[in-house]
């Protein structure tokens, strides 16, 4: 790659406002320990970040805050310089469960996101068909969720997430419901989709390998009340390499071990 050409783009990226900034974000509830005890996190524009941590630690809660679905009680949180707001045109949120509407077929589910934005019928049909083809489900357009396997349902959910061409992608444990093998195939698919994606991604996962495979940076949350205990830059070049290749890299195992230790320590608190 031509360095001289790449540099202005990198410079522009550095100049762009951070995608997400969290400063001492706290969530307190009455008569119970805090859920978030001051989360500090800054995500650059175009960065892929994975949040890992013990289950029930508040990762999803934090994600919901970024998506503007849940309020927080103290601190400061901005998304592209603004207050978090649900339904931003540039944000796409994929929920932990696929949340497909059972009365719509696969195409209808993908179209939903565009329909809500008022895209005319022909255009949304065309874009949804393309999005389904990208996730390898061109043949399953007219099938309803009950007629799809878990993996296929998750693909439809991914197509629905990408079809709006978001700039900020928020994924909450996108593959939690899948068996180990399907999950790895889905990670490969997501990695392929992310290669054509120039925006910012923030995902929550309990799968450390998934985090290292997909992200530029792994952020570790402690047990409740949650704070950020560690940040790991993943310098494996994941954006260009195959999943199998990544997993074979000794650096991958080293990082995996470190993150694992961090989460374990979080439990001890």
């Amino acid at each position: 790659m031509n360095l001289a050409l790449a540099q202005p783009a990198a410079a522009a990226r550095a100049m762009a406002p951070p995608a997400v900034v969290a400063e001492e974000v706290r969530l307190s509830v009455a008569n119970a320990p805090d859920i978030l005890a001051g989360v500090n996190l800054s995500i650059r524009d175009g960065e892929f970040v994975a949040i890992v941590g013990p289950s029930g630690c508040g990762k999803t809660t934090f994600l919901n805050m970024v998506a503007g679905l849940q309020p927080f009680t103290a601190g400061r949180l901005t998304v592209v310089g603004e207050k978090p707001q649900a339904g931003r045109r540039e944000t796409a949120y994929a929920l932990a469960r696929d949340a497909l509407l059972p009365w719509r077929d696969a195409l209808g589910n993908v179209e939903l996101a565009l329909q809500i934005r008022g895209v005319p019928p022909e255009e949304r049909r065309r874009r949804a068909t393309e999005a389904l083809a990208k996730v390898g489900l061109a043949d399953a357009r007219t099938r309803h969720p009950a007629q799809l396997s878990q993996g296929m349902r998750q693909r439809v959910a991914l197509a629905r997430t990408f079809v709006t061409e978001p700039r900020l992608l928020i994924l909450d444990e996108p593959f939690a419901a899948l068996d180990a093998q399907t999950r790895i195939r889905m990670q490969e698919l997501l990695l392929a989709l992310l290669r054509q994606f120039s925006g910012t991604m923030i995902m929550v996962t309990h799968d450390i390998a998934e985090a290292i495979t997909l992200a530029d940076r792994v952020v570790v949350f402690s047990n409740r009340p949650a704070v950020v205990t560690a940040n790991y830059e993943v310098k494996l070049g994941n954006r260009k390499r195959k999943t199998s290749e990544l997993r074979a890299d000794p650096e991958f195992s080293r990082l995996f071990e470190q993150v694992w230790q961090d989460i374990e320590r979080g439990f001890g608190q």
């Binding site: 949340a99 509407l101 309803h144 009950a146």
Partner: protein
């Protein structure tokens, strides 16, 4: 992944895809169905034949079958009774279900009002409406209107409660999805809440239709000049049990046929729900 989906599909099509009728699942269902009816008819016949109960009071299967066909010999009389009952049923069903659903939508949009009237709905719904039949006759007369009013009083509450239950069933995932997609309140209702409520509403309509026949006939028994209920009372008072049973059988066939007809038209709306429940039949 593909094989998994195919397995699931074929599993839900067992009844349809089995080779031929003989030995199929559908055949087993029909054998059991006919056996149940046969046992009932045999028990009925034996109770009379063995003198456990006097056939004067319970009639007989063969007498009922004979009376069933003979009742068509006087089509004008039967036609008039049927016309009254069906008219009362359908008018009551239409008014009751429409008003019930409209009120449910209004209450759905006004949570405070909903909470305020919730206990009143339960109380009104637990009231034995058939006991009010004499009152309805007093208010609306002995004709169609009195019975239709009774039907409305039954159907209104069934549709109010089922529609409201359908519209207010909580789904956090849909709510998050709707909000994250930036759906307006109107879109949220149109794309998420209403479609999710359709199967519940359709089930309520089916139940209401059965209740409508019940209400109309019960109203006629209380008082009236024409209708199946009027005729049934007359037959019972004259100890014409076979004729009574025959007319009852006709009523059952009619109401079942009406419900099936409605199912035929609503099947498309709820097909996704049936598939979701793993029920292909």
């Amino acid at each position: 992944m593909r094989t998994l989906a195919q397995t699931r599909l074929s599993a839900s099509e067992i009844g349809a895809s089995a080779p031929g009728f003989w030995g199929s699942y559908t055949m087993r269902v029909w054998v059991i169905r006919i056996a149940v009816i046969a046992v009932f008819v045999a028990a009925w016949k034996l109770t009379g034949a063995l003198g456990i109960l006097n056939p004067v009071f319970i009639g007989s299967p063969e007498g009922t079958v004979l009376a069933f066909f003979l009742q068509f010999a006087k089509p004008a009389m039967l036609g008039l009774d049927l016309f009254y009952t069906v008219a009362e049923t359908l008018i009551g069903f239409a008014i009751g279900s429409a008003s019930g659903m409209i009120c449910a939508v209004i209450l759905f949009r006004a949570p405070a009002a909903r909470q305020a009237v919730a206990p009143l709905i339960v109380a009104a719904n637990s009231l034995p409406r058939v006991a009010l039949a004499p009152l309805f006759v007093l208010w609306f007369g002995l004709g169609i209107a009195g019975k239709a009013a009774l039907v409305v009083s039954l159907v209104f509450f069934v549709m109010l409660t089922t529609t409201l239950a359908g519209l207010t069933q909580p789904n956090k995932d849909y709510e998050y999805l709707a909000r994250s997609l930036g759906a307006s309140r109107r879109q949220h209702i149109l794309f998420f809440i209403v479609p999710a409520a359709v199967p519940t509403i359709v089930a309520g309509l089916e139940l209401s239709l059965t209740y409508s026949f019940l209400g109309a006939v019960a109203g006629e028994i209380v008082g009236g000049s024409y209708g199946i209920g009027v005729r049934l009372t007359a037959f019972a008072n004259a100890f014409e049990i076979d004729k009574f049973m025959a007319l009852l059988l006709l009523l059952v066939i009619m109401s079942t046929a009406t419900v099936q007809l409605m199912r035929h038209f609503t099947a498309k709306l709820t097909r996704w729900h049936a598939t979701e429940q793993g029920d292909a039949h």
